[in-house]
């Protein structure tokens, strides 16, 4: 039987090199761009057990969907982690926080970040 082992979120972005730098500087990822010596058309960013892929669309602007949903924002990726409180303290003054660290009604501690391209990423730790 086929077994699904892991999943990487994929984001289209206009500028892969700039996106790699932002994720390296603020969120601790290690980034790789391809092809190596030219304008990158593809990128992979890795930290711990997770992976995000970037695909270049020239001039791409992500539509802003955040407010289209009642009772909460529209998310693009949800990252499960440990050590969220310490992590929040290190990133809160460096990145755009859509929602501060708080305990959701289902028990998880989470906060929301908007990245440089407008993708909304939720960081979450079980309470």
């Amino acid at each position: 039987m086929p077994e699904l082992k892991s999943l990487a979120s994929c984001f289209p972005v206009a500028d892969i090199a700039q996106t790699l730098r932002w994720y390296e500087e603020h969120l601790g990822f290690t980034g790789y761009g391809y092809p190596p010596d030219e304008l990158y058309t593809f990128g992979i960013m890795i930290r711990d057990d997770i992976e995000i892929m970037l695909q270049r669309i020239g001039d791409y602007q992500k539509p802003d969907l955040y407010d289209l949903r009642d009772g909460g924002g529209v998310w693009d990726a949800y990252i499960r982690m440990q050590g969220i409180k310490e992590f929040y303290e290190t990133v809160r003054d460096q990145v755009e926080i859509m929602r501060p660290l708080e305990k959701a009604f289902y028990g998880a501690w989470q906060f929301e970040v908007r990245d440089l391209n407008g993708y909304v990423i939720v960081f979450s730790e079980p309470g």
Binding site: P2, L4, L7, I50, L68, D76
Partner: protein, 130 residues
Amino acid sequence: MDKMPEYSSIVPVFSVADVGATMNWYQTHLGFSSDPFPAQEPYLFAILFSDHIEIMLQRVQNYQKPETYTLRAGGVWDAYIRLSQVKELYDAIKDEVTIIKPLRQQPYGAWEFEVKDPNGYVLVFSEINQ
């Protein structure tokens, strides 16, 4: 909550107009289980899960995903899923779902195929042969 920060998994979150119909599609064709909220339709949110991966759905009324696939040579993906026995999965679903690219070996060695889900999200299924 005093451990060193460590990321353990990433879950893509898809905006969809109909959470229930999307859950059914993932269950029928890809074997995902689902955990919707609230417990009765219309669902506002759901977690889909299978083996080691998860996908989340958020309901955005009347949402239509913009078509971006052709804006890049090589396609535009939404999730890249690594698995074992990709050929078995391909043979099992290729006549039931929209295949954007058939199973083939990429220059970087992976065997991949691409599926478009009922909302237009593009899933890549990939296996590296050992």
